[in-house]
Symmetry: C2
Subunit: 308 residues, 2 copies
Amino acid sequence: MTLLFHSASDDARAWTAELNRRLPDLEVRVTPDIGDPADITCALVWKPPPGLLAGLPNLRLILSLGAGVEPLLEDPTLPDVPLVRMVAAGLAEDMAGYVTMEVLRWQRHADAYAAQQRAGQWRQLPHRPAAEVRVGLLGLGELGAAAARALVALGFPVAGWSRTPRTLPGVTALHGPDGLATLLAGSDMLVCLLPLTPETRDILNRNTFAALPRGAVVINAGRGGHLVEEDLLAALESGHIAGASLDVFREEPLPAAHPLFGHPLVHLTPHVAGVTHPGPCADHVADTIRRHRAGDPLPNLVDRRRGY
Amino acid sequence: MTLLFHSASDDARAWTAELNRRLPDLEVRVTPDIGDPADITCALVWKPPPGLLAGLPNLRLILSLGAGVEPLLEDPTLPDVPLVRMVAAGLAEDMAGYVTMEVLRWQRHADAYAAQQRAGQWRQLPHRPAAEVRVGLLGLGELGAAAARALVALGFPVAGWSRTPRTLPGVTALHGPDGLATLLAGSDMLVCLLPLTPETRDILNRNTFAALPRGAVVINAGRGGHLVEEDLLAALESGHIAGASLDVFREEPLPAAHPLFGHPLVHLTPHVAGVTHPGPCADHVADTIRRHRAGDPLPNLVDRRRGY
């Protein structure tokens, strides 16, 4: 069996080694060294150039290296074979770590203390206890559930909103348009972990911000397409939004001259909130390939109409 | 019943209101307005001047406003009545939040990303997944247990060391001198949450640092007396220790000229890692007073020989 690997941001050598350790008979070919396209039956990819996969006549399975598959779905030539998104304990935990770190940094005045340290100042700044900082999660899938677990363990009241009704221990679960309004009105920190679909595009906009309590914080670890960046800048300017943590942007890399880059109320990271590490993720990929070979049902299949 | 309140760093007015809401018949007197010392049967205090409590002839109960009681035990005139330490869900969760935030900041290169943001740079810096960052907790009491819960939820392998054997779900529990050596050898991040006793004073010293893997991080949220500050400075200088988060110091406020203050590898906060918020803590205090009145056994009694 031959697998094609393509990614500009993942370590092809590490992935090849991890996969061969689990599936010694798997041949991994890394772009651009594809060899005979007819050999390839399976592809493990992140943002492949449009048409790359359509050029593989015997492709039977596509595995995404990212949790979000919208770059793949935007390719009209994408072959109609099973498409599996990346789901691994390591990814959800990594994202949960980012969300938890950002919630805590805003709760506990981390920037102000860093500034005081630079200035040689010792001054205690009261912070609200976790029990009084309400966190609202947009998205309650694997990523949202992992973030909720950590935040609940730290004593934060957590509410979550999802397309379809869900139940999570210790989490106020909401859904639908009314649920969204309820969530926003009661979120001191709003965290976006949604997949990007036509329904969720631009969901972080001026109306959303206006529905949050004054002084709320916005954390976007979903996709750049979720956030209307100029609306956020206006809400920060007005003081209605007190701060934002942004890991994803409309344009990546974000141009250095972009007003979000140097903004004093923004924590900016270069799309590293949820990183797929070859180790734990290779388990997921190898397991999916084994099931596919055996003809077993595949978990984490993408529903192309739904978009995730 | 009359309670004496003394603290230079807690909000006397907020505490009085919270206690009266729970115990309407409790009279709260705040230093220096003590009135007749013979009225006072109970004291709620943080760092009272030596002799203050000895001057209360009818004192029957001392409640500490802090989790650590060593400032009280250093007063040789401390009356021999039941002494209860502060234990409240809010305090343990607050401390767990500090520990979790610092572990995540070091794991995820938060300082480097902040510097890149200031410089307009977009560059991904690989970080180790949580599953590969071993956290060692010194102290597995209420505070250690709360920190462990959050860190385990985020996927960090957690080991803990305590004076007496303990068991915590998902935590490798160690004790005794051999256990300490095992913990140190396997800790990429070492977190001190111990009470300060003659046995634990100076426990964070050059030998301890040398027993950690190269590149380890030290987080001290215990007491200033746990850390030999000059040994830490030397270990940071040599590169053996990669960074430190310090919330407590030998001398507080830490003088602005102290070499730890401006150190680029140190996160400094002014003793705010575990703050007692009147709300949840007042529940604990009111409950203790009710039990005391009823003659019921008191939880969280300090063992004066042990020191906590």
